[in-house]
Structures are given as structure tokens and as C-alpha cells.
Amino acid sequence: MSSEFKNPVIRWIDHRLPVFTMMEHSAVTYPTPKNLNYWWNFGSLAGIVLVVMILSGIFLAMNYTPHTSLAFDSVERIMRDVNYGWLLRYLHMNGASMFFVVVYIHIFRGMYYGSYKDPRELLWIIGVLIFLTMMATAFVGYTLPWGQMSFWGATVITNLFSVVPIVGDYIVQWLWGGFSVDNPTLNRFFALHYLLPFVIFALVALHLVALHQHKSNNPTGVEIKGDRDTIPFHPYYTVKDAFGLGVFLLIYLGFTFFAPNFFGEPDNYVAANPLVTPAHIVPEWYFLPFYAMLRSVPDNFIDAWGILPIIISAKAAGVCIMFGSIILLMFLPWLDTSKVRSANFRPVYKWAFWLFLFNYILLGYIGGQPPEGAMLTIGRVSTFWYFFHLLVVVPFLGKYERTLPLPESISAAVMAKESK
């Protein structure tokens, strides 16, 4: 392989350290299904956003001070005095939102086309781990500017760990390094916020190793059967990804330049005050569906009939449901027993999928509303549906759904479409 390179320096290096061969395999000759649609752009987009986040973050860190009495002012200094500091910060702030938009689309793409199924289970699970680590990163990052939402968000979320039996309160103290969210907390959150993106980077590398082992799934969900089904990644998908990147940048930079605080909370421009809780504590939009689940659980829900020996409080049940909702995603490859991957050939699952997506967005909306009256009821029904879909609808359809006939191969599907 190494002899393929014309440049003698590259050839010399590659013979000893085959990085160029690796790159060639994964981004140039990599055989890619020839029928990928635009929903397959979001993986590479997510990777690019990760790089943008790491770069903007490192330059922010050069001007940021992780101390309770200085953090807020240091961010304001970045905004006003540091050359292009406003740009870095707005890129980082909106980049976090864009990262979640892109990754959410990427995840739901996987759910629609059944990309999590055998033999891509680990690929999927690593993906869920990336999602979890992203949430942790964004959560600790949001604490750094030390505004009111930073402080109270950190307080509410770290308090979730107090539901662990017996040692809960010690865990919370340990997380805080004190008796409330305070300077030690801010310091360690900064250290973690610097570390976790690199953990994500390593997970992404594993994600790609798993991807390249069995290659990309595709809109038909039929495996690659031969050379006729694939085209080389370069130039076909490098060009398509570059085009997608252009469209994405228009949106991302559109927000950054013209509506930089669209996703933010005005309360976070008020310095943290441990004695005053803002009237509405709302997490960043990307956490809202989970926040809605957290708050949806009625009192003593687990022991609705009063017969269990232990009563799980609404708080504990809410926390279990919230974390459970993400952990459950890891089991999706085994919950969905249907042999057919793509929802294009699953007439009933297709509707269940759209309903699930709608329900998820609804949960996000509910998460942003005060938990009262109709909102609370809808939130409960939606939370129920989230679990019902994954635990009952998906396994049931896997067994009983009558699927449509699959195309012979990817190329057969493409030909059939052409001849129409």
C-alpha cells in the first residue's frame, strides 16, 4: 500500500508509520454505499463541530479565570476587551447548541434507518456514550460563566445525586468540595470541561473504528454486497459533505453573528447569587426533554398502590427515569428484533418513529414550561410514551410487523429508482 504514494517523503514516513495509509483508507478509498442521502451528512458535521468547540474553547481558556469572584467578570472581559473575544465566545456558545442539533439529527437518523442493528450494536452504544459525555461537558461548561443560571443549574443537577441511598449526601458534598456549589466546584468543573472534550475525541475515534469495520448503513438498510454497491468516499462524499458543511455554516454563523443569544437565557448575564433563585430555572434547550421527564413523576409513583416495602420518593423516581431514558437507548439493538433495518420498508414502525420524534420534541417543549396543570399531565403522558415506545412498541413491531419486500441490493434499488 505504502508504495502507492508518489511523494518520497510521504512514502518514507508511511513505511514506518502508516498514518497516510490509514487516512487513505478512511477518507479517500473508503468504499461507501452509493445511495446515501443528506441525513448521512451529520456525522462528519458533528466531527467538525467538535473540532470548532475544542479550538474556540482553548482560546477562551487563555482568557478565562475559574474563580467565583472573577469568573463572571473574566467572561465579560472576553466579550468587551479581548480582541475578537466576543466572536470566540459566541462561536463556543452557539457551537454547543449546534453540536446538539447535529447530534440529535444524527441519532434520530440512526433510529429511522435501523443503523443500530447487528453488526453495528457497539457503534451505536459508543454513540450513546458520546452523547452522555457531551451532556456532561455542556453541563460543566455552562457553569463556567458563573451567571445565575450557571449557578442554579449546577445546584439543581448536582443535587440529583443526593437520591443515591445512604451515601447520597456525601456524594453531593464530594462533587461540590464543600457544602454548596462554590469555588472548589467551579475549579473542578473547569478542569473537567477541559478534559471531557478530549474524552469525546477518543470515543469518536472508536466510533469510527467500529464504523469502518462494517461500513456505513444506507437508506435501504441492505448490506453492501459487492463493488457495484459502493463508490469511493473521495471525491463523491467529500464533495457532498463539503456542500453540507457550507449550508450548516450559514446557519451556525447566522446565529453567531445575528442572534448570538437566541439559545441563551438572559438570567445568565446576571452574576451568580447563592441567595436568590431565579423565578424559572430552565436548563439549556438540549436538556429540556430529560428535564421534563425528571419533573413528570407523581409522588410515590413507584408505589402507586401502597403495597411495596420501600417507597421511592418522587425525587428518586424522577432521577431514575431521567437517567434510565438514556441508558435504555443502549439496549435498542436488542429491543428491536426486526430483521429489516430501514423504516422505508417498515410501514408501521415508520409511523411509530415519527410519533416518537414528535413526542420527544413535545417533551422538550414541556420541559421549558412551569410544571403545572395541563403541562404536567401532558408531560406525564409523553414520558410514558417515551418508555412505552422503546419497551413495548419496538419489540412488538419487531415480532408482528409485516414488512415490505427488500431490494436485492443497493445497486438494484438505485437502478429501480433510475428507471422510474
Binding site: 458534598q173 472548589p184 447563592p274 423565578a279
Partner: protein, 189 residues
């Protein structure tokens, strides 16, 4: 790994001797692993413990408060261990209300178990649900249906003894350890 060496042992000409060697080797491997794991655990502890509250944080653990400026019906907030503590000089009406019942079903407790002198209520002003600061300290704040405190985060309501009545909070507002150092002075912590 043990399985692997056993099969290799059987294949070798001196079979039984190999088995003996294996069990001795298994023992050595196991004990090495155990000692290694214990050692790694012990070495990890200092790292984990650096994240616990440090000595300077622990040193700021008590707060003295002069209660004389507080008039009846008024509340003040003081800071103890970085947390707000609510001190309310209750009116006779509020005291009567607090003594009337044990509070809600969730965490019933008699009012005199929660106070040292009936007119002074001292509680940690942190909602036992997820740690917000309940409203009700300032005049004009919403105080909830029980005339105590109202948590804006998820709607918990506390009564005039700081007991949970409605909402997701599991416990009454905590009573911090404190003692009267004079007629109108306390030390918290």
C-alpha cells in the same frame, strides 16, 4: 487465562506435574492481582479525597448571629457554610398555626422538635427537593398556601414551621445545629 495454561499443561508430557504447577501459578496470579487491586484502590483514595471539602472549607463551619434587631413577623437570611439560613421571629398566629398539626404526611414532625424557643424558627433555606432557595423571606414574596415558603423551582410549599406540605420536596427544611449563646444570640454549627 487459567484455562489456557491448563490445556497447554495437559498437552505436555508431564501432565500431573503441570496441573500442580498450574494451581500454584493460579494462586500466584490471583494473589498478585488482588494485592495489585488493593494497592491501586489505596493509591486512588488520596486523589478522590482531594475532592472532598478541604480543611479551610471545614474551618468556616460556624456562624454567630445577633437576633436583637429582628422584630416580630420579620425574617433574616444569614450565611452558614455557604448556605442561606432563614431565621424568622414568628408571630403568635404563626406559632399557633405551626403547633396545630404535625405538618404534612410526608415528613410529620412536631413544631417543638424543630425549635428551641417557639418564637424563633431557624432552618436551612434550601429546598429539600433540588436545592433552590424558597421564596418568602421578603415582604411581598409568595409564601405558598401555608404561609411559610414557596419554592419557585418545582412548586414545593413549606408551612410556618418549615415543614413540607405540597410539592416534590421529600423532607422538611433542615434545622441546622445551633444553640442560644444569650437571650437573643445564637451560634449556628
Amino acid at each position: 487465562m487459567a484455562d489456557h495454561t491448563t490445556t497447554a499443561g495437559h498437552g505436555a508430557p508431564h501432565g500431573s506435574h503441570g496441573d500442580e504447577g498450574d494451581s500454584r501459578r493460579d494462586f500466584l496470579v490471583l494473589s498478585t492481582l488482588t494485592v495489585g487491586a488493593v494497592g491501586a484502590g489505596l493509591a486512588a483514595w488520596p486523589f478522590i479525597d482531594t475532592m472532598n471539602p478541604s480543611k479551610d472549607v471545614l474551618a468556616l463551619a460556624s456562624t454567630e448571629v445577633d437576633l436583637s434587631p429582628i422584630s416580630e413577623g420579620q425574617s433574616i437570611t444569614v450565611i452558614w457554610r455557604g448556605k442561606p439560613v432563614f431565621i424568622r421571629k414568628r408571630t403568635p398566629g404563626e406559632i399557633a398555626e405551626a403547633k396545630k398539626s404535625l405538618g404534612g404526611d410526608k415528613d410529620p414532625q412536631a413544631d417543638d422538635k424543630r425549635t428551641k424557643k417557639p418564637e424563633w424558627l431557624v432552618v436551612v433555606g434550601i429546598c429539600t427537593h433540588l436545592g433552590c432557595i424558597p421564596l418568602g423571606q421578603r415582604t411581598g414574596d409568595p409564601k405558598g398556601d401555608y404561609n411559610g415558603w414557596f419554592c419557585p423551582c418545582h412548586g414545593s410549599m413549606y408551612d410556618t414551621s418549615g415543614r413540607i406540605r405540597v410539592g416534590p420536596a421529600p423532607r422538611n427544611l433542615d434545622v441546622p445545629p445551633y444553640e442560644f449563646t444569650g437571650d437573643t444570640a445564637i451560634r449556628i454549627g
